[in-house]
Subunit: 303 residues, 2 copies
């Protein structure tokens, strides 16, 4: 029998995980929430805190399975084995990744700070109540993706929906955000490679393969003196993944700036074109905290 | 100054025209409804009947313009000169055509009989009233695309929304459908070429260019003895458009069957694979009335 899964992108972040859980409830058709890899520390904290069940990990698509994709709309960032004819629906807030299908499907993406915001909207549109736990999960997704409403991707709709979710969930948003950021910033026991790959996405643009990893933190102190190591790891990743360009951005959430690591002259050239800033090894991009809105579009235009 | 347009696909049909008009009202941002070519007879009748204003014709994208696409979601079927970065939003009910964008946008498609149905839904979700004229226009879009609820693409949601639009518009649906079909079937003064091209769409699939024209009618009598002429015209279109395959389907709405014209052995081969039916020049496909649901997917799978 065909099983239906709701799943987010590879290297799952909080928004993609909570979206999978809540969209499966919305669908009311027995769809099973799943995740495309291990939870990061922030998401682990969120599920512990809200007593949410950890979804099943799927490393590849099982035989006879169909999928609802959340928080991504193309196959590049999906687990291996999903074909476009296996996709039943998409709920997302990213750009379009060239998905082609033979038959019509449900596809919805909007310019919002998180997929969680869109899901909350969809419940409202149906006139359905959001249960307390789901409200907490969606609120966490919004806080995570908008960096507690400080990211450039934040919209007035995100803020409005979050206020409503606060009322339903009874959560103290300041406290939750603080705890999430602490969990996110906790790198104890993590290798540099784990950090660089913890939120790494691969894109294809104009025939080029581009890898962009980011790590969001409330303190960059633990990274002092680690530049050389980070660049070495980036070089390894570039070789292994046969990427044309790889970048890593260490995002300081509080100072609102990004330490941007440039592996070689090739990456530096792109960076110069994209941001008008050039340098060796690592540069600081002031005011830049969003991969989606402030990094990807400019890097794409500079390829 | 940048102008914003709402526009449907080339060879506009009723659903694409009324969707452009009503979505521009929904947006409330000064967007101008436009059409990608001359109105067909059915749509002309609808606009006359409902005292709707004929939208501006755009044969190509003006300088400094941005677009909301309705009833199509890719650039293949858009007017020339629209680039993906000029697209502000999409409302559709077709398959995904591989749209790629650099930035997030509003994109919404659902498995419904018409784009008009989705637009009516969007008004309801916002809690906004649909005005009487818009209700009539959307009702016409639904009737047109679902062949008055007889096409395989018809969903229970189309029927439900149509009932609500009947109440708002005060329209007698049976009478409107009859008049629309009569207008649609009126071929007086039309050349065979005009008929074949009146609802012709081009697709790209697996590197092949496929043209599929359909003509819906309540009576195929005027086409008796015209097979040779139709095939000659199809041959001309294939040459001019450098298509790999071209098909023309004369759809008998009442008998629910399609006379399917096969230009050469190449088209016949596809048809045999797609429908298990083979023949010379023209064959009858029983029960087939929908290009989107019953022709395109099967033809794509047989390429």
């Amino acid at each position: 029998m065909t099983k239906k899964f709701v799943i987010g992108h590879k290297n799952p972040d909080t928004d993609s995980v909570v979206s999978a859980i809540v969209f499966s409830k919305y669908l009311k058709n027995g769809s099973i929430p799943a995740i495309a890899g291990e939870l990061n520390r922030e998401t682990r904290f969120v599920l512990d805190f809200l007593k949410g069940k950890k979804p099943k990990i799927l490393k590849k698509a099982p035989v006879n399975s169909q999928f609802y994709l959340v928080d991504h709309g193309g196959l590049e960032q999906s687990i291996p084995g999903i074909n476009s004819e296996d996709i039943l629906g998409v709920v997302d807030h990213h750009q379009m990744f060239g998905l082609t299908t033979v038959e019509p499907l449900f596809y919805r993406t909007e310019v919002l700070g998180s997929t969680s915001t869109l899901l909350a909207k969809m419940f409202k549109e149906k006139g359905w109540k959001i249960d307390k736990k789901s409200a907490g999960l969606l609120l966490s997704g919004i806080i995570s993706d908008t960096l507690n409403f400080t990211s450039k991707t934040t919209t007035t709709e995100d803020k409005k929906i979050a206020k409503e979710l606060v009322i339903i969930s009874g959560i103290n948003i300041k406290e939750l955000a603080q705890k999430m950021f602490d969990a996110k910033s906790d790198i104890s026991g993590m290798s540099i490679r784990e950090i660089v790959l913890s939120d790494y996405k691969e894109y294809k643009h104009l025939g080029k393969k581009i890898g962009i990893g980011v790590f969001e933190t409330v303190s960059t102190t633990p990274f002092k003196g680690k530049d050389e190591k980070i660049l070495k790891i980036l070089g390894d990743i570039k070789k292994e993944s046969k990427a044309d360009f790889v970048f890593f951005g260490l995002i300081d959430i509080l100072k609102k700036e990004t330490f941007f690591y440039l592996l070689s002259d090739k990456e530096d050239g792109i960076c110069k074109k994209a941001f008008g800033v050039s340098g060796k090894d690592v540069i600081v991009l002031k005011g830049i905290t969003s991969r989606k809105k402030q990094l990807v579009p400019y890097i794409f235009k500079s390829i």
